[in-house]
Amino acid sequence: MNKWKSLLITTLLMVLPLAACETAPEQTQASNGDTQATSSKPTSRLDTVKSRGKLICGVDGGIPGFSYVDQNGNYSGIDVDVCKAVAAALFNDPSAVEYRNLDATERFTALSSGEVDMLARNTTWTISRDTSVGLEFAPTTFYDGQGMMVRADSGMKTLKDMQGKSICVEAGTTSELNLTDNLRKQGVEAETVTFQQADPAYAAYAEGRCDGMTSDKSQLIARRSNLPNPEEHILLDVTMSKEPLGPVTINNDSAWFDTVKWVTYALIEAEELGITQANVDEMKNSTDPTIKRFLGLEGDLGTGMGLSNDFAYNVIKQVGNYGEVYDRNLGKQSQFKLDRGLNDLWTNGGLLYSPPFR
């Protein structure tokens, strides 16, 4: 009998916490909405984030210029600024963000399981990710293309020269697929060595395990600055793919997707309207109705989304417009000095175009 008593107690001890996990969220769901994943009635992540008071943002954390953690644990980069912009729109506080470093294969699971609210992690917008993987892509914040980095003294000029060579690539990325496609197209047989994480992949390239390293060009340029002798490495003059990178949210949650989408557009629209971090307060006195609507002085664009009416003002005041974000992280004021190129406003021959704020 003693045995059975102990069995019963053991079973109960094992089961009770599980049962508690299962039922507790449902009870508290109405109050804090923190449990979109376990609730039977779909709640928007927008409410979850608002009641939490903090945004959880999935980033890479290892790519200078996009998302990079420095020695003091501070995050910087264009992706990080998108997270900050969303936090500024929601809470008027760009520091109300908790960052999660995710590698390429973890990111979608982390998003769909609700561990992070959104991704701002160099994620390429593709049809299969948008549809069958179950994601929503906010506007592209960086138009990129896949490149190939090789050693300057290797004498390689084109992909054809990579016959019989080995190429390092990060697992779970579009780079992996594009590389395969491009090699197939050109009839080149090369060995691809796939790494789970970017750090070992670049280390393997630096150590000479691979003759080439492929990824998005911006990433290669950023990562090259971390290699032992950056000047010994060059990018081949090939672009293997289109890589539109932008923030990502989960499928079937329009309210939350709209928030992220329009905060991103707000960055672009602000640049087009000439509103900067410095002059945003002055702009409040503008007579232009478009600017007044954008900054929330007229109309109800913000409240219609479930945000405060001056969300765009907060974003620009705290983070700056797209041009400022770009210059700070990748452009003139950064170590990379990348041209705007495709990432300029449509009025300047680029691809950035925000639908009207009206």
Partner: protein, 388 residues
């Protein structure tokens, strides 16, 4: 008589009732939890617009992997790439188990060596390797040891020929032709015949006191034929250096495979060394003394008296080490070896189906480990004391 009338004790005091009721309760609770979790899963999947199913396995995989045992091309379906990953995993596991047994047994026996230096070196090996994380050791082997090989242009050339460079280690290897397989078959038969002759020879020598000379001659002939087959009959292909800087022909062990295999073999080997040491120490001292008093040399004491007894203690623990090796092989992903876990990782990331893919991975590792366990249990049965 009085006690007979008390046969109808209340049901809550009936031990038999509780035995069954508690079991039913436990099953119900378990089923309830599973149902709750499954319901939760379905609801969430439906919310994201996904349905549970394995149909995605027929889609084109589209990514390439660096080395395969079975044919695989990027245009093959996901099921094929997963199979290729499984084959790569099995390759590491099987090679790893064989090599780690050799390393472990040698290191275990070395701890009894009379050579002071050997004993201490062995001790350092076991303690250092056993007490540091395997992942760290894999990075060590990969980045520190194998990456210190020279670039392909100035590769190390060893007689054999063996070529070592950052592109891998190329060794001679039999060609994949019919003749080679026939040769291997003959070799296998030769080994089995040799074992039978050896046994009957010992029987004849010990029980009938014969010289065993004809059997010995037969064994020598088999050995000579085998050596001839190994040298000439297997069509060894020597690796050759080709113009683009790599090697061609033979077997090219990539750095990833080499590092993973070395790491796993030495890590598990250290544990096996301890198991072997414990097994040998578990044999009573009297057995050593008895064997020595019969005039056996110390090598023979170990081989004929001590080791067979130690084996009985060792095999159950070895079982769990082999299973550990099989599971640890999934760390391959850290150093870029395309094993089952690595390709499955890419697969679920591309298809957005983590649950289905993880079920497949779990099923695969579970089956592999159950097979290991089963075969070790069979082996265990054969070495246990047979009661007569």
């Amino acid at each position: 008589m009085v006690e007979r009338k008390k046969q109808t004790i209340p049901i809550w005091r009936d031990e038999r009732f509780w035995r069954i009721a508690l079991q039913i309760l436990a099953v119900l609770i378990f089923v309830g939890i599973v149902a709750l979790l499954m319901g939760n899963l379905n609801r969430n999947l439906a919310q994201q617009g996904n349905n549970f199913g394995f149909g995605f396995l027929k889609n084109e995989a589209g990514f390439s992997i660096s080395e395969t045992l079975i044919p695989y091309k990027p245009k093959d379906p996901y099921s094929q790439v997963l199979l290729a990953g499984l084959a790569n995993s099995l390759r590491v596991m099987i090679l790893g188990m064989i090599l780690t047994t050799i390393v472990g047994v040698l290191a275990g026996i070395a701890s009894f060596s009379e050579n002071w230096l050997l004993r201490q070196l062995n001790r350092v090996y076991v303690e250092v390797v056993r007490n540091t994380p395997l992942l760290l050791q894999l990075f060590f082997w990969y980045f520190a040891v194998f990456f210190s090989l020279p670039k392909p242009q100035d590769m190390i050339k060893l007689p054999g020929p063996i070529f070592m460079s950052k592109r891998g280690i190329a060794i001679p290897w039999p060609a994949n032709t019919l003749n080679v397989w026939i040769g291997l078959l003959v070799l296998g038969i030769g080994i089995i015949v040799a074992i039978f002759i050896w046994r009957s020879r010992i029987q004849l020598m010990t029980e009938k006191a014969e010289s065993g000379q004809p059997q010995l001659i037969a064994l020598i002939i088999i050995a000579i034929i085998s050596i001839l087959i190994i040298i000439f009959g297997l069509g060894w292909q020597a690796p050759k250096i080709i113009a683009t800087g790599g090697t061609e022909g033979g077997l090219n062990l990539t750095l990833e495979l080499s590092a993973l295999l070395t790491g796993l073999v030495f890590y598990t080997g250290a544990f096996i060394a301890e198991i072997v040491r414990a097994g040998i120490q578990s044999v009573p001292k009297g057995q050593w003394e008895a064997a020595k008093s019969l005039g056996l040399k110390s090598g023979l004491v170990m081989r004929l008296v001590i080791f067979p007894q130690a084996l009985r203690v060792m095999i159950p623990s070895l079982n769990s080490q082999y299973m550990n090796l099989a599971k640890n092989s999934s760390l391959a992903i850290a150093i870029g070896y395309p094993d089952l876990y690595a390709v499955a990782n890419t697969t679920y990331n591309q298809t957005g189906r983590p649950i289905e893919v993880f079920l497949l991975i779990m099923a695969a590792y579970l089956s592999i480990n159950l097979i290991i366990s089963l075969s070790m249990n069979l082996l265990n049965k054969t070495v246990q004391i047979k009661e007569r």
